[in-house]
Amino acid sequence: MHEQHHEHHEPGFWRKYIFSVDHKVIGIQYSLTSLLFLFFGFSLMMMMRWQLAYPGQPLPWIGRLFGEANMPEGVMVPEFYNQLGAMHGTIMVFLGVVPLAVGGFGNYILPLQIGAPDMAFPRINMASYWFLFVGGVVMLASFFLPGGAAQSGWTSYAPLANIAPTGQTAWLIGMIFLITSSLLGSINFIVTTVQLRVRGLSFFKLPFFVWAQFVTSFLLLLAFPPLEAAGVLQLMDRVAGTSFFLPSGLVVTGQPLEVSGGGNPLLWQHLFWFLAHPEVYVLILPALGIVAEVIANNTRKPLWGYRTMVYSLIFLGFMSFIVWAHHMFMTGMGTAMSTFFQATTMIISVPSVIILTCLAISLWGGSIRFTVPMHFALAFIPMFAIGGLTGLPLGLTASDLHLHDTYYVIGHFHYVVAPGTIFALFAGIYYWFPKVTGRMMNEKLGKLHFWLSLIFMNGVFTPMLLIGVAGVSRRLYDQTGYAHGAAVQDLTVFSSWSAWLLAVAQIPFIINFLMSMRKREKVRSDNPWEATTLEWATPTPPPHGNFPTAPQVYRGPYEYSVPGRSADFWPQHLPEEAESTQPRPATT
C-alpha cells in the first residue's frame, strides 16, 4: 500500500486536499459538502414557506431574481413550487443528512474508533465522495434545464414523473450517481469494521456509534440496489420508450399517451419504498450512534443496556426491510397485506422504544455535564420520541385513512429527521470539532444556537401535526382554497415564521463554526472531553495514518466512573496498570 510512503513523499495540494484517499480528508469533504447542501435545501424550503403563508404574494426583495418562468413579478408559479418541494426532499435526504451522518461522521470517526489507519479501500472511498459530488452537481444543474428541475415529489411517483419535463431525467441520472456513491461507501464501511479493528477490539467492545454505522451500511447495501434498478427502469421509460411503470390506455390532457403500455405504476412505489423505508433508518441510526457517544461521555457512566441496544439496533435494521408498504396503505391494498404491514410497523416501534428507553435510563445515576453537544444529544431524545410516537396513528390503517398524505406525515418525519437527526448531527459537530480542528467551539454561541433552534424547530413542526389532523393534504401550492385549509392558515403562517427564524438561529452556528476553525484557543489535551473511545487516543488533529503506533484495546467502550479508580474515565487503550496518562485539562 502506497500510504506507507507518506513520510518521504508528501503529496501535493491536489492529492492532499482534493483527490485525497485519507479517510479524514474525505470525511471533511463529505461534511462540508453536505452542510452546504443542507443549507441549500433549507433555503428552498424557506421560499416555499413564503408561498404557503402568503399565497400569490410576491416574495419580497429576492422574488424577481428567479426569472419570469419561475417567479413572474416575484410570485411563485405552481411548477416552481413543485420543483422546490421535490428538490428540498431529495437534497435534504440524499445530499444533506445521509452524506453528513454516514459519509462525514462515518468516514472520519469510524476508522479512528476502531483503531484503523484508514478505511479498507481508500480509493473506493475517494470514488464514493466524487460520485456524490457529481450527483450533487447534476441535481443542482437540473434547475437550469428547460422546464426546470424534477417536480414530482422526492418520491417521483410514476406516471407523473414519466411525463414530467427533462428535469426528471436529470434527477434519475443524479440519483444513480448518489446511489452508486452510497453503495461504494457502505461496502467500505462493512469491510473496514470487520477487518480493521485493532487487537482486543471485539464486536461487543465496539462503541455504539460504530455499531450504528455498521448496521446502517448493511441497510444501504441491501436497500439501494432496488432503487438503482427502479431508477434505470424509469429512465428507460422516459428515454427509450419502455413502459415498466405505465399501463395501457392513459390519456393525458385529452391526448392518448403513445406508449407501449402494460406496466404498473405501483411497481415503482414498491421499489421506491423498499429503499426509502430502510433509508429512514439510515437517517436515524447514525444519529442514535452519535447521541449514545455524547450521552455516555457527559453522564460519566456506561450506557445502560449497551448489549440490549446493539441487539435492538440489529433487529431494527432487519425489520426496516419489511415495513415499506405502510407508505402505500391507500393504494387499494386489501386486508391481508395491510394487516401484515401494520403489524410489522407496530413491531418495529418496539426496538426503537427500547433504544430510547436505554438512553433515558442511562441518565440515572450520572453526573451530567451540560456541555453544548450534550444539550443537542439530550434534546434529540424527546424530539425523536415525538417523531416516533406520531408514527403510531400513521402506521395503523384505520387512523391513516384520515391522516395519510396530510401535513401530519410531514410533521411526523420531520420530527424524526430535523430536531431528531439534525440535532444529533449538531451534537456530533460540537463533540468532535476539537478532534478534527484542534480547537474548541465557543460554548456561549453554541448554547444560543441550541436554544433558538429548539424553540423554532418546534415552532415549525408542531403546527404541521395540527394542520394534518385538520385534514390538509401535503404538497399543496395553496391550501386556502379548501375550507379545512383556510381554517388552519394561521398555523401555516406561524410555521413559516418559525422556519425563517430557525434560519436566523443558524447564524450563531455559522459564525461559531468559521471563527472556531481559526481563532479559538487550541485544545490543551488530545482528549478534551475526557472520553474513553479510541478516537481520543490519537494526536490532534490525527495525522495521516492516525495512530503513531497501533493501539490495543483492553476493555469496553464506556468505562466511566469505574469503582476504585481515581479518574472517572478509563480509556479503552490503556493497559490495566496505568492510570490515565493523559494530562488533565484545566477546564471542562
Binding site: 392518448p256 440515572w364 384520515h402
Partner: protein
C-alpha cells in the same frame, strides 16, 4: 365541534364509520400524550437530580431497571390492543363489508389532471361503456357513442352529489396520473391508480356542502383539483339528478 366544521383538530365527521376512526385517532393521541409526559417527567427529574455539582459522582452500575421492562411490555400490549381491536376491524369492515349495490348509489369517479369526472348511470341505472379512444373535450368520460346504456349517463364535473343515509359505492379510476380521492369530513382517502379501478364505499350521516380534495401530487394544478361534495336530502338529490338528466336530454352528449 359546535358550529364550525373546521378547526385546529379533526374536522366535522359526516361518515357513518368516521366515529370509529376519530375515536382511534383520539385514543392514540391520549396514549402518546401519557407516554410522553410520564417519560418526560422521568427525563427532567434525571437532568435535575443527576446534574454535575459538588459531590455528585456518577455511579458505575446504578440500577437494574425493572420498571423499564414493565413500561416496555405496557407499550407492546397497548399497541397490540390498538392493532387488534381498533385498526384491523375498522379497516376490514371498511374494505370488505360492502353494502349491496341495489341498496346503494353507485357512481364512477374518473380523475384527471385536474378535475374529478363524476359519472352517474342516469335513469336506466346502467353505465355506458367507456374507452380511452372516445375521450374528447365533449366526451370527457370516453363514453362509447354506440352504446345505448350511455345515452342517459351524466358526467358532473367536480360535482359529487349523493343522498344522506344511503351508502355510496364509488368505482374510482384515473385517466392519467395517480390522484387521491380525499374527503376529510368522510375520513376517507383512496388513491386512484392508473390502469386499475378501485371500489370504495361510504355513507354520510348528515347533509351539507363539503370539499373533495386531491391528496396525491398530480402536477401543477394539484392544489386546485377540488371537487364540491354535496350531501343532500333524498328529495334534493332526486331534484338535482332530474335537472342534470334534463341537460343530457337523451342526446348522448356530455358536458
Amino acid at each position: 365541534m359546535g358550529e364550525t366544521a373546521y378547526g385546529w383538530w379533526l374536522p366535522m365527521n359526516v361518515a357513518t364509520y368516521g366515529g370509529e376512526v376519530d375515536y382511534l385517532i383520539n385514543v392514540i393521541h391520549w396514549i402518546m400524550g401519557i407516554l410522553f409526559v410520564g417519560w418526560g417527567i422521568f427525563f427532567f427529574y434525571c437532568l435535575i437530580r443527576f446534574r454535575r455539582r459538588e459531590g455528585q459522582k456518577a455511579v458505575y452500575q446504578p440500577i437494574h431497571a425493572k420498571p423499564a421492562k414493565y413500561v416496555e411490555i405496557g407499550v407492546i400490549i397497548a399497541e397490540a390492543i390498538l392493532l387488534l381491536s381498533f385498526s384491523m376491524p375498522v379497516w376490514a369492515r371498511f374494505k370488505h363489508e360492502f353494502p349491496a349495490e341495489k341498496d346503494a348509489l353507485v357512481v364512477r369517479v374518473v380523475a384527471e389532471q385536474f378535475a374529478w369526472n363524476v359519472h352517474y348511470s342516469g335513469k336506466d341505472g346502467r353505465f355506458g361503456r367507456t374507452a380511452p379512444q372516445f375521450i374528447s373535450s365533449s366526451n370527457l368520460l370516453g363514453l362509447d357513442p354506440d352504446d345505448p346504456d350511455g345515452k342517459d349517463d351524466i358526467n358532473a364535473v367536480n360535482q359529487l352529489h349523493f343522498p344522506v343515509n344511503k351508502p355510496v359505492i364509488v368505482h374510482l379510476s384515473t385517466k392519467d396520473v395517480i390522484h387521491s380521492f380525499k374527503i376529510p369530513v368522510m375520513r376517507l382517502t383512496q388513491d386512484a391508480i392508473p390502469g386499475t379501478e378501485i371500489k370504495i364505499w361510504f355513507e354520510a350521516s348528515r347533509t351539507g356542502q363539503f370539499d373533495l380534495a386531491c391528496a396525491q401530487l398530480c402536477g401543477l394544478g394539484h392544489y386546485r383539483m377540488r371537487g364540491a361534495v354535496s350531501v343532500d336530502t333524498p328529495e334534493a338529490f332526486a331534484k338535482w339528478m332530474e335537472e342534470r338528466q334534463s341537460e343530457v336530454s337523451g342526446t348522448g352528449t356530455e358536458y
